[in-house]
Symmetry: C2
Subunit: 317 residues, 2 copies
């Protein structure tokens, strides 16, 4: 049995990854500071005898290390998912992304090095790329100019992991993914719309003019891709993960949520095609490197969005 | 009179920049934690009535801010040069580059934002690029895979500055430069060789086989380029700075230092073409973007090296 330690394991992606790891017969250690993760997200998984949960901040390398020391050297793989997932909050206060998005990575690396844990899988982000407009974004593109503190601290994390791979870390996987949707949703445009319609069932206010277009990946496909990449050879490998389409517009999402949650609501769009500072209005994302390894997403952006809307509206009903 | 604040101002590049700013009739505030900078480096500049010196760590945004509050809102430009300049030390302990190379940038940005200082000039590094082998490195190249903690934290700094430029910082300049040489030398291959020959005048041991080839820029040319770029238009601009040649080998440097400092010494080369983990054996550096703005270096790598050897051997005599 392989033991997997998941930082941010009580968050949206964490609980979906854990479910798959347990289904595959693995053992799981959840590390989460519960700042945005919630123990309730784990649901029935918490009671599984192969699951252990620690409430701690992985930016605190001493506290994190003291906990890992108690695991008797049994950790094989670390999935580092802990990060500030609230991009606008990080715009308002850069210290949030410093602490939760970068220093969590720094602390995780320090603990891995101390205990000789050699396999790291890191949830990076398409936000490291910044705004390439109509240019197709492949993994080797430059220049890298993130326009949010979140993107900056994800890029900083990748850089630190890359240097660690040069010096001591034998296996590192970087997953760069765009918007991931599904349940338990903790943030994001679908949840935002559902909550707005709950507050004002007759009206849905949308930031921006609705033309922003993004690719959406369902969390089931994301976890599937992460496990696929983790099994590939190599010391340091970077992959875009996403659907193989160009995405869907915010307008389309707003309409789908409206139809599912409050069919008689009027949708009111704002102006401009950036919802907030740091938002990228549109991007085109190449997943050719991942497709070349034989992996295929089950759902495109449209189908992923429709399924996530049904799941989120259902979960809130 | 414009007021320039220089972090790391008591270091090698800082004192050369200050001399030029004073010659141009400017006012200067030196901020340095004196961990590697030295007050003696400032020499006669310290007595200039237009120069103020503060010993503080710019990673400490509170202490740094309290000092800047006393400057009556007069700072126009910040030149952020503070960083750990000892790359091998940062390989041994990543916390050094975190604290001195990245958190100094984070603290500097926090203070600038708090006091509404709108012009930042940042000393980045060719180390952000990692190892591109024979490929010519231009500013927009990818992927960016720094192989040292120093390079990782310089890239993290650039990313944080880029996000600040998106949100609030109206003017940011990024200087990426390779090895810079001259006096007062605080580290680097020439000083290393001079000191080795002082210890053992009959023998010079060289790490690696001497075939590592790098471009070298004299600090006079570097400062000239930085001032040139600072005067250009634009919100966020990135420039490689360097000579327009492909560089010179470590063997050539060893021979020049030997000839100047201890002509009868035997040179003993090691094995392999990497001196230490994180060292890049060879790179080809494009400065076309800078040349297109009309700037020209006065010295190529060979002439810069010969002049720096004479200066360093002279300074130590």
């Amino acid at each position: 049995m392989t033991m997997h330690l998941i930082t941010g394991g009580a968050g949206f992606i964490g609980v979906n990854l854990i479910r798959r790891l347990l289904a595959g017969g693995q053992e799981v250690v959840v590390v989460d500071d519960m700042s945005r993760g919630r123990i309730e997200n784990l649901g029935e998984l918490e009671a599984d005898p192969r699951v252990r949960v620690a409430t701690l901040d992985c930016a605190d390398a001493d506290g994190f290390g003291a906990f890992v020391a108690g695991l008797d050297g049994r950790v094989d793989d670390v999935w580092h998912l802990a990060a500030n997932s609230d991009i606008p909050a990080g715009i308002a206060d850069p210290a949030i992304d410093l602490q939760r998005t970068f220093l969590t990575t720094f602390g995780t690396l320090a603990v891995m090095r101390r205990f000789g844990i050699g396999r790291l899988h890191f949830a990076s982000s398409s936000a490291i790329y910044g705004d390439f407009g109509e240019t197709v974004i492949h993994e080797d593109i430059g220049p890298l100019e993130p326009i949010s503190n979140y993107g900056a601290m994800k890029l900083a994390s990748e850089a630190q992991i890359r240097a660690a791979a040069e010096a001591w870390l034998p296996c590192a996987r970087i997953f760069r993914f765009p918007n991931v949707i599904g349940v338990p949703a903790t943030h994001g445009v679908i949840l935002d719309f559902v909550e707005k319609l709950r507050a004002t069932p007759d009206r849905l206010d949308v930031l921006g003019d609705g033309t922003q277009q993004k690719a959406y990946l369902h969390v089931d496909d994301l976890v599937d891709a992460m496990l696929h990449i983790a099994a590939l050879d190599g010391r340091y490998r970077v992959f875009n993960i996403g659907p193989s389409d160009d995405g869907i517009t915010v307008r389309r999402i707003a309409e789908t949520v409206r139809d599912a949650a409050s069919p008689s609501a009027a949708i009111a769009f704002g102006e401009g095609n950036r919802g907030w500072v740091g938002d990228v209005p549109r991007f085109r994302y190449s997943v050719d490197r991942l497709l070349a390894t034989g992996w295929r997403p089950r759902l495109g952006s449209q189908a992923a969005m429709e399924r996530a809307v049904a799941e989120i509206v259902g979960a809130r009903a």
